[in-house]
Amino acid sequence: MRQPPKHQLAKAAITVWRLSGIITFIILMVMAGALTYIAYRFEWPWFIGTIAISLTLLEAMLHILIIPTIRYKRFRYEILDEEIYIQRGLLIVTRTLVPMTRIQHVDTKQGPILKKYNLMTVTISTAATTHEIPALPSEVADQLRNDIAVRARVIDDD
């Protein structure tokens, strides 16, 4: 684990994370707005609404502007001969080495936003932990899943 892994996610990942950030922001904003209206209607202290809205705005700023880029920069993966090597994190960076022989199953999944950009999430499970490689191009994800499955089996067979 001297060098970080080689591959990065698809560039569209940033857009996807921003989009989901925007959706969360809209939901939170509606809730904050409702709270502000209730506070105004029942003459609660004015700071309740202010805090709710400013927290939502702060959250939006983090999740739409700042976090996606850092996350994209940090996240890296590499499929080695006998291991999967993943790096993730924002401030605290974690590098994980999962041997193929310990992998129990590999899943791919795709939500509506990911589908629009033709991306997929690959989940790798061991007996005790799961690891995610989010937002890979569909073809790469499928390839990767099959690849891991084959290698895990080949090594297991001996």
Binding site: T94, T96, L97, V98, T126, A127, A128, T129
Partner: protein, 495 residues
């Protein structure tokens, strides 16, 4: 011999207790509801009675219904012993027929509760790879001799139904001697177990809570009496009180782990303990994922270790954190012989430890000092007393001592496929041994500051019967991390 067998009738009682235990809150709330509800309004004059009558009637009906269900359960449960499998058919309305092949069985555990001991019976628990009791098999009450026989046949890979092959010597010839815990050892273990800390905490809180539970006059009278006594009496009373609390801990420990015996049969380790409930746990050595020797705060001055193992599969016991106590108390010099005899693959003799880099301790000390000094100096700006400064200074001093202690004790070593880690975890000194092939993954964690200092955390997980056991080994240098990674990489070449 594929006859259908029934459990011993005692199983009915055990089923009954289990149903009661599972539905106790429902029964209690039902009784309360009936007690508070005025049924008399709904009844003709001749049937009117006091609420006590109705509640007892309700309880009687419950007991009869539950008793009937237990009887049905017992009546409908049959087990068959095939040469290579155990078949259990059960269920009152929906019949479940489960055949458990011997090759899928992980272990057979023979437990004897006090009821079993009266009739010379036993509870046979069959564990497979799943962690669900409903998936595994359990024969609640069968003849003790039969249980032992089945277990013997299973352990030695003999056909299960071939009971004549069972010979009296329960052990194999080449087995080494059992380790039996002496009563003194168990007493020492009981007096220094982590539970003592909890009991002492209760001991301190209890007197202050008493005032709200005792009637006021009794409390006042006893308070007056206590205040009249001399200091010597006080000291004696407090000592007696503390000894009493510790005794509770020791007695409960003794009841659970009394007559502790560790034995090896073929590839199985057998742990037996318990005074009231005799438990016998069978563990195939291949299921062992990691071994931890643990020294809590009370045991540190004596250098005593408790030995725990993490193992894969089996029923999850939340109280034990998924770990099994392999031996209650070991002196420091006994650890090596213990491993040599029981788990020779993990032998740690002459395994030189490599200490962690000291720079991270300086960094943590500086970080801690800043966290303490900045707020306190702001505070001192407004209010300053010499004893406050002294407190802060001694706090820093103690912290530094802790870091030095941690530095002295922490270390790692690898030999062959075994990794040995020594570290502090929740005020306990731990020594963990884990094989490379059991480590599911290797994590390297670092923050920007740690990157500058060239240190990182190591984290890995092993399988157990629940979500896995995670080990953190923090603040090691990058070069050590690289060495460990290389060691971890080797795995696939020499599986």
């Amino acid at each position: 011999m594929t006859d259908q067998h029934k459990l011993h009738p005692l199983a009915m009682l055990l089923f009954f207790f289990k149903i009661i235990k599972n539905s106790i809150w429902l029964v209690i709330s039902g009784a309360i509801f009936i007690g508070s509800f005025d049924i008399n309004e709904l009844l003709p004059d001749q049937l009117q009675a006091s609420p006590v009558m109705f509640v007892s009637l309700f309880l009687l009906v419950i007991i009869i219904v539950f008793g009937f269900i237990s009887w049905l359960k017992w009546q409908r449960l049959r087990y068959m012993i095939h040469p290579d499998a155990l078949q259990i058919t059960q269920g009152i309305i929906v019949r479940h027929d489960r055949t458990i092949k011997t090759k899928n069985i992980h272990s057979m555990n023979v437990n004897q509760h006090i009821f079993h001991q009266v009739f010379n019976l036993a509870n046979l628990k069959i564990e497979t790879a799943g962690s669900d009791v409903n998936v595994d098999g359990e024969l609640k009450a069968i003849d003790f001799e039969l249980a032992r026989r089945l277990k013997y046949q299973f352990t030695n890979d003999l056909p299960l139904d071939d009971v004549t092959a069972f010979a009296a010597p329960h052990r194999l010839e080449d087995d080494k001697e059992d380790w039996r815990s002496s009563i003194y050892r168990l007493l020492a273990a009981g007096a220094t177990t982590g539970r003592i800390g909890t009991l002492l905490a209760i001991a301190f809180v209890l007197p202050t809570e008493l005032s709200s539970y005792l009637p006021a006059d009794i409390y006042q009278a006893s308070e007056l009496w206590v205040l009249k006594q001399s200091i010597v009496v006080w000291v004696i009373l407090v000592t007696l009180y503390l000894i009493f609390m510790i005794a509770i801990g020791v007695v409960s420990f003794m009841l659970k782990y009394g007559q502790f015996t560790l034995r090896r049969e073929g590839d199985y380790l057998i742990v037996k303990h318990g005074l009231i409930e005799k438990k016998e746990t069978q563990l195939h050595i291949n299921r062992i994922q990691a071994i931890t020797f643990k020294q809590n705060l009370f045991r540190m001055p004596f250098g005593w270790y408790g030995c725990y193992v993490d193992f894969a599969g089996g029923e999850f016991d939340a109280k034990a954190e998924g770990r099994l106590l392999l031996y209650p108390l070991l002196r420091r010099r006994e650890v090596t012989p213990f491993l040599k005899q029981w788990l020779p693959e993990y032998d740690l003799e002459d395994m030189a430890l490599e200490r962690t880099e000291s720079i991270s301790y300086f960094y943590r000390m500086i970080r801690f000092s800043l966290l303490v000094l900045i707020p306190s100096s702001i505070f001192f700006f407004f209010y300053v007393r010499w004893w406050l400064i002294l407190t802060i200074a001694s706090l820093l001093f103690v912290r530094a001592g802790c870091y030095y202690f941690e530095y002295r004790l922490k270390g790692y070593a690898t030999r062959g496929a075994v990794l040995r880690l020594e570290y502090l975890y929740r005020f306990s000194r731990c020594l963990t041994l884990v094989k490379r092939k059991h480590m599911l993954e290797l994590n390297r964690i670092e923050t920007p500051v740690m990157k500058k200092l060239q240190v990182c955390h190591l984290k890995f997980a092993v399988m157990n019967n629940f979500v896995g056991q995670h080990f953190n080994y923090r603040w090691i240098s990058e070069s050590q991390m690289n060495k460990l990674t290389d060691w971890f990489h080797k795995k696939n070449n020499e599986r």
